[in-house]
Amino acid sequence: MSAVTSTGQSLAASGLVFTYPEAGKGRMTAVNIAALEARPGSVTALAGPSGSGKSTLLYLLSGLMRPDAGSIRWNGDDLALLGEARRDGWRRRNAGFVFQNFHLIEEMSPEDNVLVGGWFSSWSVRGLRRRAAELLDRLEVPRERTRVALLSRGEQQRVAIARALLFDPPVIFADEPTASLDAAAGHNVVATLRRLAAEDGKTVICASHDADLLDSCDRVVRIDHGRIAATKVEIAEPVS
């Protein structure tokens, strides 16, 4: 197994292996990553064709799945060694999630959607309302809508980003965040993610094959058959 790489608030994986059973073929390897590090203040993209393992890698890095081998280090903790309940707690404290299809609760207002995390945290929802309102204002989401379903798709994705930011987590995971948006809305979301990294110092990790998003990332890690095929590192220009 590879040595552990950990640098402060970086999220670092090493020797990461994840397999799954397939009938008649034994265990198939979905992810086999020697080393990967996502740094604070940067946007790291996991790119690759469908089935390449980029979403599985994202779920492993976020603690939603547990690897068969390897480590995922965050600030001295190894997520791979934590039980499910502690990984849930880690996500509550340290991670925000943005999904391709937003997964908002349509019957609720934008503000209540942002507050969802408050239901299962120890924070008082009343205290979080101000924070939710600020986030929606910052992301230019009309707060007066009574139901989130009345928003445009781009606005809905920005509500999802606000939801991910409720507890000001240091890490943002985004799974195909622009895939179901038109070009303008997608561009807006990319700009938002870039700003979160550049201005707020967030560690942003995206699984995507959106060229616009990949062009805007600090690091693009191309995944093929669960392995890192190539890594492109560049300091992306801020997206306006």
């Binding site: 996500r91 019957e107 969802v116 995390g117 239901w119 299962f120 929802v125 799974d175």
Partner: protein, 404 residues
Amino acid sequence: MNPLPLVLAMLARNRMTSLLFVALITLAVALGIAISAQERALRQGSARAADRFDLVVAAPGSPTDVLFSVVYLRPSAVELLSPAVFSRLLAEPKAEIVAPIGFGDNLDGAPVVGTTAPFALHLSGGGLAEGRVFERLDEAVVGALSPHPIGVELQVSHGHGAASPEDEAGGLHGQKLRVVGRLQPTGTPWDGAVVTPIEFNWYVHGLGTGHADGDTHIGPPFEAGKLPGMPAVIVKPQTVPAAYGLRNAYRTADSTAFFPAEVLVELYALMGDVRRIMGALTLATQVLVIAAILAGILALLDLQRQRFAVLRALGASRLFIFLTVWSYVTLLIAAGALGGLLLGWGVAGIISHFLAEASGVAMQATIGGTEFRLVGALLIVGACLAAVPAMLIYRRPVIDALRQ
């Protein structure tokens, strides 16, 4: 941790399905509540109705038939008690009231019952609601619910149908009745009856008056040789031991004696058996309804598994997901159970009203410990069963749902 907002969101999202589930539970519970409350109302009403009929002495035969004739004024052919037995009863020192009962006539469908003035007063709780008790053969008192006012003259017809042309022409034997008093409410079919001196009943049936010719007084003493047979005699004993003594003394080859409660207890035992069977069927229905609803809820929630997976991705614990689903299901069951309690109560009230109108026996459906225990048991069972879909959703793999 507060699953309530998500539970409310689930209710809003699935409002029609949730309403349907609640309605099904409500109907299933209401069925059980209505049966239970109605059976008790019937039991209590019939027992209350028989309260003032301390001891019934009749010819040997079916006590049930006699009870239904005397207390509930349901027409039935009963053997007549020998006048000799009645004379012996009149001589009993431990009998406070000995009252023959006679039927056979009606007034616009309301029974005309013959008895004695002391029994009419006893039935009315010791005093009348208005007027006075009858003192002459052609006087009558009416039950509390009778539409006839004091002072009105009534013309009775023979049997249980409408007045015959002969009756219309001048009354049976030309005899009319004048209403002189009104009984207090008794909660029995007697509330709708016209109560006459027993002598009137005998007289209009051509049986004399039980007194010597030319003797116009009513009530005891009677002329032993002039007495006809009678369907039953109500005896009010002076004491409880006297009641048992009289009952035993008149269980002979010529007569039978019984406390109405004895007959009612047998009827209640039969009703109780029916109630138990109905109760078991109702319980089975409720369990089946809840099982079907749980299956429906599981299918419904399975369609929303991605929502739960997203919550897990956002950091919600499995416990939170469990609590959310459990609260949602329990809330539906609780709402259905509460609705069923109220609906069952209402239905039992309506049935009681119609039964009371049809039978004349006052009965009021109430919700008591039995019904609360039924609902409580359902809530406990429901809350336990609600853990099943909660557990199944709780165990759903997050990643599979997220990848959908």
